[in-house]
């Protein structure tokens, strides 16, 4: 896949992958701070009503067998999301990487 892309955009993608993480990639028990919701407005609003707001801390908890869907601790409650949804929730880069 990389071969077909221009060198530039390939580099961008690689850089992006290194610096941004999605909620789906966050390991169980590790806290992450939500940066933005990469989803259509109405879905983003639905998730924000449940506490998935930019700036809020989210901790992944237990999951169904196979890791999908997974329970997230957010805002004093626990909400399960499928991986396809969690992978559109972008986390703030953790300080260690910058």
């Amino acid at each position: 896949m990389m071969l077909q892309m221009s060198v530039n955009s390939g580099l961008d993608a690689a850089l992006n992958a290194a610096t941004t993480r999605t909620l789906a990639q966050l390991p169980e028990g590790e806290a992450g701070v939500l940066d933005r919701l990469d989803l259509p407005d109405d879905i983003a609003r639905r998730l924000m009503e449940l506490g998935f707001l930019p700036g809020h801390t989210i901790v992944p908890a237990r999951s169904a067998p196979g890791g999908n869907p997974r329970v997230y601790r957010v805002d004093g409650s626990e909400v399960a999301l499928r991986r396809e949804t969690a992978s559109h929730l972008i986390l703030r880069p953790s300080k260690g990487l910058l």
């Binding site: 989803l39 259509p40 109405d42 879905i43 609003r45 639905r46 998730l47 924000m48 009503e49 449940l50 506490g51 707001l53 930019p54 700036g55 908890a61 237990r62 999951s63 169904a64 067998p65 196979g66 999908n68 869907p69 329970v71 601790r73 805002d75 004093g76 409650s77 626990e78 909400v79 399960a80 999301l81 499928r82 396809e84 949804t85």
Partner: protein, 640 residues
């Protein structure tokens, strides 16, 4: 619409009602987010004086009840609204809530006062709903529920401070334990007497579309009222480490599912047999008292046996709802849905569809009633539409009779698994396959995924209360029995009339000469390609009442005992039906929606005739097509 927010100057008292006291009931709506204990409070306030229906034209359930007031100078009518996080009309639930609050919902007067119920262990999030509700400027009591949880987990809130922040009275209660509920009654007495003035909140209400700002507002109000969130629920975490354990979790899930299945399938059997026995005895009693007449025949053979055939399912329904009640109230149902989600997602469904579909193996009626736990409307509709494909217990007598008559019991896998058992298993698989294929078809066409993602809130584990379980069982039985007493009674009388008219020499006719027989003859050309004759035609017409009725009808037609083990009936069928027609009949029953109880319950749960009509047409068409193919294949001898 009414985004009149933040106008700090409009601290206007409600104008006194123009109508004299007690001229019309005082309407109070209960509103709150999902899992805030709304229904528990509603049950506390109304007891058994409630009725459940649907809001006109939608699948959203409408619960209305009379409050148990001490001073009864004016009736107080409570409306339980669906659980919502906001009033932005994106889902059917939110639209209904908005319409009721605006007074534009047909049949429901605009509420005079509101009870806003919030989970105080999660106030940061739940308080957000206070902004749009308070901006309606109706007398509102803000109820902080789960006070017992808040206290035991070390949280606190100053209700007096919160009341002055919000400009609305605040009551800290525990709806499940009944603590503080008297404050709610006091509030309703006050508003019913027209004494409560609406004051403006101290803090300006936020712009409602801006969720982060609303959250900030809620946070500020909370901290202004000295709110300290409680510690995480330790017991819930401990239990989740077992119930969601990678190995133990699925095992426990399977045990629970097997338990539900076993109970509704086998456990209900003695109760059902007992009830059946009582109904039969009652019929004999009536036969003893009344002289033989057309009327007695209508009463005993028509009404009693027909309604009896439906009422017999009551133990099954009660057991299933006892189970679902325990699972839902304890919080395990959300975990089960989580575990089942991935498998169900493969069929375009979701985790919450699992328990209803398993229940449909016993009977589609309680299964369809159980889909109420699915909040997503399209997923719920898809589950309702495929549930009747699961092999319900009413198909078994038909399967047993035809398989015993037409399929030789040659061993396939030793003595334990023969051709007959194989055929029965095949029919179960056939129904399941049709359900899955239909689910995929629906979810890729008319019920194409609403862009709402799968979101499942995990409530903390709680002990189910006997009170809530009891109320639920009474409610479900009422719904079921009311239907047995109305639609089904009507269809049964019509069928009886068709089988017993026209009267010849003062005697009811032979079934072949009755109106039912005429219908059988009339439909014969249509069903001949399936390998069915007019006698099967009569059976099909009568089985619209309920599938197993065909066995009794065929018994009458062939003058043998109308039971599935009747040797005479088996012999008669063997000589009158081709093997192709027999297998086609099995396939027809696997797919066709021959059950008016199911049709009636789908109509009720979807709020109209549209979906049952679509479902009946689709299933009948599929049944006809597959029976036609089956008959042709068997006749052509490809398989032998």
């Amino acid at each position: 619409m009414s985004e009149c927010h933040g106008c700090a100057g409009c601290a206007v008292a409600e104008p006194p009602p123009s109508l004299p006291k007690s001229a019309r009931p005082h309407v109070v709506a209960i509103i709150g987010p999902p899992n805030s204990g709304k229904s528990t409070l509603f049950n506390r306030l109304t007891g058994l004086r409630q009725k459940v229906a649907n809001f006109p034209g939608v699948t959203v359930e409408q619960r209305v009840g009379k409050a148990r007031m001490q001073h009864k100078d004016r009736d107080v009518v409570l409306v339980d609204l669906p659980g919502v996080y906001s009033l932005n009309p994106r889902s059917e639930d939110e639209q209904v809530t908005r319409d009721v609050l605006a007074g534009t919902m047909p049949g429901i007067p605009k509420p005079d006062a509101l009870l806003l119920i919030l989970d105080c262990t999660n106030l940061g999030r739940h308080l957000v709903l206070a902004a749009p509700i308070l901006s309606l400027k109706l007398p509102t009591l803000v109820i902080l529920n789960m006070a017992d949880d808040l206290k035991s987990r070390g949280g606190e809130v100053n209700t007096a401070e919160l009341a002055s922040e919000l400009g609305a009275p605040v009551a800290l209660i525990s709806a499940s334990k009944g603590q503080g509920v008297e404050k709610v009654f006091q509030f309703m007495e006050g508003t019913a007497a027209g004494s409560t003035a609406v004051t403006a909140p101290r803090i300006e209400l936020p712009v409602l579309q801006d969720i982060p700002r609303c959250r900030k507002w809620a946070q500020d109000v909370g901290s202004g009222a000295g709110y300290h969130a409680p510690a995480p629920p330790i017991w819930t975490r401990r239990l989740d480490s077992i119930f969601l354990h990678p190995v133990a979790g699925p095992l426990i899930f399977l045990i629970v599912v097997a338990g539900v299945f076993q109970t509704i399938f086998a456990g209900a059997k003695p109760l059902m047999d007992g009830l059946q026995g009582l109904i039969v005895q009652f019929g004999h009693g009536v036969e003893h008292i009344l002289p033989p007449s057309i009327f007695r025949s209508l009463l005993v053979d028509g009404v009693l046996s027909g309604v009896g055939a439906v009422i017999v399912f009551l133990p099954q329904i009660l057991l299933l709802f006892l189970f679902i009640g325990v699972l839902e109230d304890s919080g395990y149902l959300a975990r089960a849905a989580l575990i089942a989600d991935r498998t169900m997602a493969k069929f375009g469904l979701q985790g919450k569809s699992f328990i209803p579909l398993i229940s449909a193996y016993a009977c589609a009626v309680p299964a369809i009633m159980a889909t109420r736990t699915i909040e997503n409307r399209r997923d719920r509709l898809a589950t309702i539409l495929i549930a009747p494909f699961m092999t319900c217990s009413a198909r078994l007598p038909v399967y047993t009779l035809i398989i015993a008559a037409f399929i030789a019991d040659r061993p396939i896998l030793g003595h334990f698994f023969g051709m007959q058992a194989g055929a029965l298993l095949g029919l179960y698989v056939l129904g399941f396959a049709a359900a899955i294929a239909t689910a995929r078809l629906l979810k890729s066409s008319i019920l194409k995924s609403e862009r709402v993602p799968f979101v499942l809130e995990m409530p903390p584990y709680r002990w189910p209360t006997l009170r809530s379980l009891g109320l639920r069982l009474i409610d479900r039985s009422k719904v079921f029995l009311r239907r047995a007493g109305t639609v089904i009674l009507l269809v049964i009388i019509v069928l009886w009339v068709l089988e017993n008219l026209p009267v010849k020499n003062g005697q009811p006719p032979e079934i072949a000469d009755s109106f039912a027989g005429m219908i059988g003859h009339a439909v014969e050309p249509a069903i001949k390609p399936l390998g069915f004759n007019w006698k099967i035609g009569i059976g099909l017409v009568s089985s619209i009442a309920a599938r197993e009725v065909i066995v009794g009808t065929l018994g009458t037609i062939y003058h043998s005992e109308g039971t599935e083990d009747s040797v005479g009936l088996r012999k008669a069928l063997q000589s009158d039906l081709s093997p192709g027609g027999a297998v086609a009949l099995l396939v027809f029953f696997a797919f066709a929606m021959q059950c008016m109880s199911t049709i009636a319950v789908v109509r009720r749960e979807t709020g109209g005739w549209k979906w049952p009509a679509v479902q009946f047409t689709y299933m009948t068409f599929l049944a006809y097509l597959c029976a036609l193919i089956t008959n042709e294949v068997v006749r052509s001898g490809i398989l032998s």
